[in-house]
Symmetry: C2
Subunit: 438 residues, 2 copies
């Protein structure tokens, strides 16, 4: 785990004034990475770092000779269209560049003029998926989500026997991962037939979102090697918001016996800004288990993981319907939850994933699974909120939703805040449902 | 489907004499593609085409100006370390290069001397995975395998209701796909506990192989678009042998409710030579369904697919144990089967995969699933042969196997043969089990 250092000092202010606002996501203590270019141009995508409402263009800053030593090597790698090479460099290089940026962006920095010249307003930018994602794995780490879903299918036995021993996960689809802003096209597919009938076929009628986080892998491991629980966090570069769009009717008919497939692979969307694990260092939370639950097996256990294994990240889901948009109503919050309530830590996901020798590669993405919390109002997908559509939700403007309708936008937001630390935010991932193609 | 043309003429002979042998896999009618280099060198991997016991070095042949027009463009793309760009070019480019190679390698060709200078003996070559595989999907297309496996878990209901409607598939792991020849390290993992106990942990004791074919995707589709059943074969570049190594004890404990994960992701191996769909054109077989079974939904149905939807590919599995190796015994055949007995065609897999708008990319790999046949001796995994280890197999030399032991090599072979066509073979994928790491 990256240690606290001068970059986390809550008293630091930036000469980019918008970074110092009370509710700013992109404070000088955050410094998240994305792949961007000026919108409407054919510029190459390149790495950038957010500060307030601006982006430090890392290619321009590197070309201007602003960085030196390891920070310059890191900036060179991070200036490419995809951040894989930068992710592969590891925590030392990430920290060197972060420190150089923190110092350069501080009030009074001698580099203010040079860095100022590289800034691109976020309002003028568009984003790419920030890495070439070799493999995408989705986990199932919220026992509250697993219980809510399991109780729909197995009311008396919602949690399967393996759940409390194994961080359950499955391979997802890499190709259909997209960035915030793109439309999500309602998928077509087969649905469960009535007894004796042929299956239905057509646009999904039970389209849903899932609030998740995505962990980008930094340095990988060779096939056959494992990553121990104490080494695991050094293999995580950072965290994004992730919407695991789901067609419940397609999923329900297809998923036995080999798991989710076309009910998921039509679209997964992520927020453009990767908040580094180092930026999250002030927001650790202990890993605990209910008293009656088993402790993890030895390979998933370490004192460090117990004391600070979780991340205290506050999460929210909002909906903005076509009607709300026309009314000028702001998005309505559907739920809120916190990553620290997950049953398994990020480190445990990495270690479990490699315990069989499976090789992770820089830029691989690990989804946490739907991050529902224990309380009412913390259900992180419509299937949970509406009890599989049986208890439709009435929005404040009178609209009713069992599942998503065309024109609905879903917005995921996240941030970290506590006394004695500066706020660190994730921005958002916002995508709108487009009608099915015929 | 590529039409029959002069490259399929069974009377063609090559000036590479080994291509004309009776049991030659790599006849002049075959011309499969791989990524290779001279073993023990640091040469870049590049595309090659097999002819007899030789390889046409496409980089050298292209540099020598042997090809012209579209064939030259195709050879340029195919000379790269990974064949993705060549795969993306589509059937016209593939056919042009194939025709140029067929003409150049024929007895009496004026290009004999020029091509001869590019040949590398296969004995001197090593191979790479021939494409950068963006996503790997594994299907479950043998109803015989599904029945054999299902009956182990659900004796009265082995085939689930969706099986006859949906080509069942799941996302596999891309990173751990390797080529024939590498050792497969026995994975560690959790296994199902006795009642009230903690799960077991350690090396898998139920390590198994699965005989499959892998389909390499050619041109892809944009996210949101679909590939119709009539277009589907134009999106398949070619076919390899695929061993879907499986740790049954890890798989059995982890796979509910989201499907196979660590029980598979430690290793998948493929044969180096991709046999093109064009080379397989003489070996089509009709798609049929048992009379009482439902016909596929409209999007999975076309007359062409019915008449010639399947591929008649004969498949075999062999084992070579450490003891057999020491005795000088040849590998013993464990089973034989045929791809034409699959329940779903290759075209149906492509169309179903994209019906929700999921984007396929050039170089993606689709596994067929374990290709067991209907008869005794056609069970394409040990879990089927030994009834999950309950009926151990006694080899000819007296050794007994429930599952694989360290030092066992598994060899998959395949070929096409019929009257009036030249033999087209796949070579083999052969990998040996190495002990688990501690």
């Amino acid at each position: 785990m990256p240690p606290l250092n001068e970059t986390h000092d809550p008293n630091l202010k930036s000469w980019v004034a918008t970074a110092n606002a009370d509710a700013a996501d992109f404070t000088i203590q955050n410094l998240p990475f994305a792949s961007f270019r000026r919108v409407g141009t054919n510029e190459p995508f390149r790495g950038g770092v957010a500060i307030g409402d601006q982006i430090v263009d890392l290619a321009a800053a590197h070309a201007a000779g602003i960085f030196s030593g390891l920070a310059a090597d890191a900036a060179d790698a991070a200036a490419k269209p995809a951040l894989n090479d930068f992710m592969a460099m590891g925590a030392g290089a990430w920290a060197a560049l972060r420190l150089a940026l923190s110092r350069g962006l501080r009030e009074g920095s001698a580099q203010q003029d040079a860095l100022q010249a590289t800034l691109v307003p976020q309002d003028d930018a568009e984003y790419a998926v920030p890495a070439q994602i070799g493999d995408y794995t989705d986990f199932y780490t919220s026992i509250h989500h697993a219980t809510n879903i399991g109780s729909l299918f197995r009311p008396n036995n919602p949690i399967l026997p393996n759940y409390k021993w194994i961080p359950i996960g499955y391979h997802g689809r890499s190709s259909s991962i997209r960035i915030s802003g793109v439309d999500v096209i309602r998928p077509n597919g087969q649905t469960r037939p009535a007894e004796g009938q042929a299956p239905g076929f057509g646009p999904s009628r039970r389209l849903d979102y899932e609030l998740e986080l995505g962990l980008f892998v930094g340095p990988g491991n060779a096939l056959g090697d494992t990553i121990s629980i104490d080494e695991a966090e050094a293999h995580i570069f950072g965290v994004v918001l992730l919407n695991d769009w789901s067609a419940r009717d397609i999923q329900g008919w297809e998923y036995q016996p080999l798991g989710p497939f076309l009910g998921k692979s039509f679209s997964t969307t992520i927020s453009p800004w990767i908040v580094t694990l180092e930026a999250l260092a002030p927001f650790r939370a202990p890993f605990t288990r209910p008293e009656d639950d088993p402790q993890p097996l030895a390979y998933l256990t370490s004192q460090d993981n117990h004391d600070r294994g979780h991340l205290d990240i506050q999460l929210e889901v909002f909906i903005l319907t076509q009607k709300q948009r026309q009314e000028g109503t702001p998005p309505q919050r559907l739920s809120h939850s916190n990553y620290k309530d997950a049953y398994w830590t990020a480190a445990q996901l990495v270690t479990h994933h490699t315990v069989n020798g499976c090789d992770l590669r820089p830029g691989d993405l690990l989804g946490t699974g739907t991050l529902s919390g224990p309380d009412e109002g913390q259900q992180a997908a419509l299937i949970e909120i509406t009890r599989s559509g049986r208890q439709p939700l009435t929005l404040d403007n009178g609209e009713v939703r069992s599942f998503l309708e065309d024109g609905d936008a879903i917005i995921l937001r996240g941030h970290c805040a506590r006394d004695g630390a500066a706020r660190v935010g994730f921005g958002e991932v916002k995508n709108t449902v487009a009608p099915a193609k015929s």
